[in-house]
Every structure is written in C-alpha cells, then in structure tokens.
Symmetry: C2
Subunit: 152 residues, 2 copies
Amino acid sequence: MIAKQVLEERLELFLRKAREANIRVTPQRLAIYRVVAASEDHPGVEEIHKKLHRNFPTLSLDTVYRTLRLLEDLGFVNAVGPRRETLRYDANTKRHHHFTCLRCGLIRDFEDARLSALKIPAQTRVLGQPQDLRVEVLGVCNACLKKNPKKK
Amino acid sequence: MIAKQVLEERLELFLRKAREANIRVTPQRLAIYRVVAASEDHPGVEEIHKKLHRNFPTLSLDTVYRTLRLLEDLGFVNAVGPRRETLRYDANTKRHHHFTCLRCGLIRDFEDARLSALKIPAQTRVLGQPQDLRVEVLGVCNACLKKNPKKK
DNA sequence: TCCTAAATAGTAATGATTACCAAGTAGGAA
DNA sequence: TTCCTACTTGGTAATCATTACTATTTAGGA
Ligand SMILES: [Mn+2]
Ligand SMILES: [Mn+2]
Ligand SMILES: [Zn+2]
Ligand SMILES: [Zn+2]
C-alpha cells in the first residue's frame, strides 16, 4: 500500500483536475481511480473490478475499461505492462522506473537518482518532439527465482 | 532499409543458432526472420504477412504468428510497441533505444552513448535478478507534428 | 425539485491472437 | 534412393481481452 498522504494528494488533485476538465466525478470513477492510486503493484482491469465488487455489486466491467481509458486520456494514469499481457495501470505519473519480471509479469517501481536526472537525448529531436522518457529493467523477480533458480 | 552487411550477419547468426537449437530452418521461417531483420521500422504481423505474399502465396497468418513467437522465445527478436496496439517486432537484440510517437505509433531506433553506457541500477537487485535495461522516449513524430502542430 | 446531457449496466460485437488438425515436408536410417 | 517419423504448415475455428451498443439511471446545475 502507498503512503496515506500520497493517496490523499492524488485524490485531491484528481478531484480538482476532473472538475477543471468538466468530467463528472461519479462514485464509480472515484472508486476506480482510488484503487489504482492506492496500489503499488500496477493492477489490471479484472483485479480492479474484483476489488470493487463488495462496494459496487453492479459495477460493470465495461465501466472499468471505459473509466481507465478516460483516466489515461486525461493523464491521470498510464497503461503499463509487457506486450502479450493484459492492460495494467499506474497512477504515478511522475518520472519513475519499472522492474518487470519476465516470468510472472510482476512490475515494481524503483527509484534511481541517475536515471531520474537523465536528460532526454538530443538525437530524438531529429525524429520529433520528445515528451517523456521511461526506463524499464527486465529480469526475474525473487519469488520466481525461488521457485526455479536454474532455468535461465 | 538496414545496411546489407548487418543483414548478412543477422541471417548467418540465425542459421547457426537455429541449428544449434535443433530448430528446422524452413523457407517460411527464414523468410519471416529476414523481413524483420531487414526492416528499420519494427514491422507488425499483418505487414510481414503482406510483404511475403508475393513469394509465398499460401503463407498462413498463423504461421507468421507462430514463427514470431518462436523467434521471440529463442531470443532472435523482441516484441515491441505501445500497449493497446498490435504486436511489432525488432530483430535488433543489442541494447538500443526507441523513440515512439504517441499519435501514430511510429517507432524509431536511436543511439545515445550515455544511455548505452548505463549500468543497471543496484536497487533492482533487491527485487530480483535484472537482465536487461531499455529506454523509451515518448513524443510526437515530425510527420504528426506537420499534420497538426498545435494539439498537445 | 426538475431537467438534460452524460454516465452506467448489461450484453453483444469486434478483432487480435491462439488452438486445432489434416496434409505436407525435412532430414535421418536403411 | 526409399521409407519413416516427428516436425511444420495452411486453413480455419475458437478464444479472450477489449470495445461498442442501448435502454436506463444519475450528476449537477437552474
Ligand atoms: Mn509505476
Ligand atoms: Mn529497435
Ligand atoms: Zn516473477
Ligand atoms: Zn507520428
């Protein structure tokens, strides 16, 4: 779980920006955003839907999909996760980096001062107008190593 | 198009490694790998299939999918491309980096000495056994800027 | 409280990817 | 060369994540 204060800040920002964008803040939207904003492990659609079932027994899967697409378009979340796997979401839109397990799909944030300080390389200006830089480290997580240490 | 010599090297390596791995080098497999290895723009499955239709009129889409998955498992290609879009493939398995257009999905390689020299951050060892590091720059490509410069 | 555009729930449709299987083929043994 | 067998392919069906549709409900302002 994320620090309570970080969550509060995210929710506050969400409410403010959502009103500015003339988006209705429905209970469903707020709840869906809250799950992503409170999570540390980049949850997927089914997972979010399941987690909300207790409080919203009639919440439709389509609403979860629609809402997450909306949140993405508005810049509140980013879609992450390896190709070939289902969509996962990240409410941390500040520059940070990911460790992704090639076996089980686990995604964890990590911080690194040198990476965070990286300037966007000048070469990319030849290709267009760069906006963001992301670093991803691929590997095998501890849990998967424990299960099967040898397999390369 | 890639430099002819680079292509030759890739094909040679492919033939050698494929035999080592006891994989039959069928005309279809070689042709599919050749298209990816010769391309600079990270082609998708349909594109590869279409390009081969002249020489392999009966080549099935499933064979293209199956072969690319095989090539990926064997480490000859990587699956790339933004979430939400179809699979694209990259035969360059050396460390290099991508500029991706958020509007049209264009993916171009770029080199950067500082990025290539990056060591994998030590923090990631807490999470598991890191193997690879990738950098992706997101932005808007020149063609898209020309079409609609203002839209942010 | 009332009104209306916007949002939701439930379900159907879509489309990329994967699975299946009969027929074909590569490559080794005799 | 011929034969054998396991592997591969083509054609097509199935799957499954995601998106579209529509009648009904609701947020939010007058
Ligand atoms: Mn993250
Ligand atoms: Mn590349
Ligand atoms: Zn793992
Ligand atoms: Zn573009």
